[in-house]
Amino acid sequence: MMANTITNFFHMGGYGIYIWISYAMGLLVIALNLLLPLWQHQKLIKTISKKIQQQRDVHETYS
């Protein structure tokens, strides 16, 4: 009975494949939109910190 309900849920009256691809794509787009700016932020902080480090190194060799 339970297994039947679950199979029916995934089958979605024959529209299963269409519905699950749509929902999967929706989740993927949401996840990517959350992760991409977080990664970009981290990368930017790293680039700026590298620049600061270089400035510090230059400063130390000449002083």
């Binding site: 009256g13 269409y18 929902y23 787009v29 932020h41 930017l44 680039t47 700026i48 600061i52």
Partner: protein, 251 residues
């Protein structure tokens, strides 16, 4: 009003405010999206004409709504930027464009998948689909223009004007199903009368729409923080901020 604009118009203050807004908006957005997701997939009864297949509406319509909503917000920011020269407004446009591109892509993609079983075709060149595709291209065009012009001031101005020109597409998308004969069904909830859907079927749609708009504000905050770092990378306060982070994480 002016004090408010000057306070939040400063990139430094906005950087920290944006971080706080992101944290406040994340949880409510998730809750509304979950209501929409679970309601739309499991609790809503099947449609009389389209069976279970209509459940795609809970992804398709909200993402199309959001794609148009983001564009209108970009247009408002473009006016604010062109009239009052507020830098944060230009950054807001830049932060919004990729999100708009993603969600207009999602609307087109789910629309094609919905079209296959219901209309028997992935794509037709009718008014609604074509104008939605043009919206997607407007977003891509904006991103291309922004990255092609290296002079920030010229780039911001040119792309703000591009956004304003593209506004003409919004009413065309909205009324395309009324003005022209099309396979696409008419408006469901974006009309002045009561929704063309039963209350028991419409609540996940509202959940998704509210959830996605909150999500947009949420991630626009993240993107605007990146934009501020990119533009203000050489200013004193950014260096101080990064130094503080370096000390904390021992970079």
């Amino acid at each position: 009003m002016w004090q408010f604009l000057h306070k939040y118009g400063s990139p430094k203050i906005f950087y920290f405010t944006a971080g706080r807004w992101f944290r406040w908006l994340a949880l409510p957005s998730l809750c509304f999206l979950l209501i929409g997701l679970v309601g739309g997939l499991a609790f809503v009864p099947e449609d009389y004409y389209q069976g279970e297949g209509f459940r795609i509406i809970y992804i398709h319509a909200p993402s199309a709504f959001l794609a148009m909503g983001i564009y209108s917000m970009m247009a408002i920011s473009a006016v604010i930027f062109l009239v009052w020269r507020i830098k944060v407004a230009a950054m807001w446009i830049c932060a919004s464009a990729p999100i708009g591109a993603w969600f207009s892509f999602l609307a087109l993609f789910t629309g094609a998948i919905w079209g296959k079983p219901m209309w028997g075709t992935w794509w037709i060149w009718d008014a609604r689909l074509t104008s939605a595709l043009i919206l997607f291209f407007l977003y891509l065009g904006f991103i291309a223009l922004q990255s092609a012009i290296t002079d920030r001031q010229v780039g911001d101005k040119a792309s703000a004007i591009l956004v304003l020109i593209g506004v003409v597409n919004l009413p065309i998308i909205h009324y395309s199903v009324i003005w022209w004969n099309t396979l696409h069904q008419g408006p469901t909830i974006s009309r002045l009368q009561k929704p063309a859907m039963d209350p028991s079927m419409v609540y996940p749609l509202y959940g998704m729409i509210i959830g996605l708009f909150l999500f947009y504000f949420c991630i626009a905050m993240l993107r605007i923080r990146c934009e501020i770092l990119k533009r203000e990378g050489r200013s004193r306060w950014v260096e101080d901020l990064v130094r503080e982070k370096m000390a904390r994480y021992r970079l």
